[in-house]
């Protein structure tokens, strides 16, 4: 796939659709091991992000990502706001001047996003955070030649599900210690939706 501004916008639209329809589920997940606002936060942020990018004419994918970053950063709040904001900011910086954005560019962008998030949140893989989804997805994109959209979605989904067995050491769930086990991480779930949406756009562009 090659990503143009249409695809970038479609990604955000699709991601928003998934988040809105899973808003309550995300909140439930966050009630179990967090403070019960993740669905509200993501819904608020992506609603605004979609409204922004759907209503704007863009020259480059980098510009789309930059706007998404700004909106998420100023609308989500909590832990996920700065993280998703950082992710899109780093992606925007990475794909600057790339038009169209190739698969290789996207792989670089996701890796940059991952690194930015790790730096911002000081979490490593295996701590039961959204990093646990971004990490394998970044690896998958980097290693794959001609990656398949389905595989991308599968990778993210598996990673999300694997957070269930982890004892959290970062984020609010860490306060629960052993009691955090047995629940899927909310942020990993919203990250899964993001990559599910990407896979969807990808398929259409294939």
């Amino acid at each position: 796939m090659e990503m143009k501004t249409e695809q970038a916008v479609a990604w955000i639209e699709k991601a928003n659709a998934l988040i809105q329809s899973n808003k309550e589920y995300l909140t439930e997940l966050d009630q179990a091991i967090g403070d019960g606002d993740h669905g509200l936060n993501m819904s608020r942020g992506f609603q605004e992000a979609e409204a922004k990018v759907s209503g704007t004419d863009y020259d480059t994918v980098a510009d789309v990502f930059k706007d998404v970053a700004t909106v998420l950063m100023s609308k989500i709040g909590g832990a996920s706001g700065p993280l998703y904001g950082t992710a899109f900011l780093k992606m925007s910086m990475t794909v600057k001047d790339k038009d169209p954005v190739t698969e290789a560019n996207l792989a670089d962008a996701v890796e940059a996003a991952l690194n930015g998030m790790k730096q911002r949140g000081k979490a490593e893989q295996g701590e039961k955070t959204m990093i646990d989804v971004w990490h394998p997805v970044a690896d998958f994109l980097k290693n794959g030649q001609n990656v398949q959209a389905d595989k991308l979605e599968e990778t993210a989904e598996r990673a999300m599900n694997e957070t269930k067995d982890i004892v959290a050491t970062k984020g609010r769930a860490a306060y629960l210690q052993e009691r955090s086990k047995g629940h899927v991480d909310p942020g990993s779930t919203s990250s899964f939706y993001l990559f599910q949406a990407l896979a969807d756009v990808w398929k259409k562009g294939e």
Binding site: E24, T27, E28, Q31, I33, G34, D35, G36, D37, G39, L40, N41, R44, M73, S74, K75, I76, G77, G78, A79, S80, G81, P82, L83, R120, G121, K122, T169, K170, G171, R172, A174, Y175, L176, Q177, R179
Partner: protein, 331 residues
Amino acid sequence: MKKVINQADNVVREMLEGFEEAHADYVRSLEGTTVLLRKDAPVTGKVSLISGGGSGHEPAHAGYVGEGMLDAAVAGEMFTSPTPDQVFEAIKAANGGEGVFLVIKNYTGDVMNFEMARELAEAEGISVEQVVVNDDVAVEDSSFTNGRRGIAGTVFVHKAAGAKAAEGASLEDVKKVAEKVVANTRSMGVALTPCIVPGSGKPSFTLEEDEMEVGIGIHGEPGIERKKITSADDIAEELLQKVLQDSVDFQGSEVAVMVNGLGATPASELYIVNRYVQKRLRDNDIQVTHTYVGEYMTSLEMAGFSITLMKVDEELKQLLDARADTPAFRK
């Protein structure tokens, strides 16, 4: 969900409007933001203090805006850290030229959002320092995790660092006092009922009629341990033990005590707890110099309370005694 609200989405905005109207002699809002400033901000000749965090902890933090405490409070959505742009606006508006000091409760979200705001402010040449409050002893401290939560002890930081700033101390010295408070303050809480975030409409957890959650935070998160409710004295003893056995050696020293209501617990019950706490400390040769009983850092309509001890020296005692004039704290 039994709440006196209009639309869930408007709760924070409408609350801030109602707050500003109630306390117009103390605060003014910063147009287009969720920031409440001291009416006379920016105050020149002193370091400015800013705190904030998710809403739902009222009177924290806007209730502490005023002389001798905060220069600005930044409100996020319910239990959700405010975003960097809001904090940045607060920094710019509160800065009186001597630098800005951020009081951050130790939650990943708060720390990230406030630090990003700090980076934005420093990029504009504003001196910013910060302290991260982590007084909650419920969870063992560990370098592998994000550490402990900041809860009611945060109010002692507002008071002491605020008084230091009011004296005209430098940013560095304000920071030192804040760090001293953090190093000497320990808290622990218990919940008898959950709370409900307006936007979600569902209780954060469920408890049987005879159960309590020990080691609760202030965001409706489940606590550390679920137990049968016991007597006021026994519950107070359990919290106190955790606080006393933590890393601050309170033995033989002077302390300030806060018995903080989480929302729905009546003042009468907080006083019953205070009675035990005072007796227990007296019996253990710990001298209480300051006592605060009331709702200082709440968790919406949660029933429960926390106990905070701060070991005090001459400087901290004098800072607690210094004048403060804010909607929720006066001295």
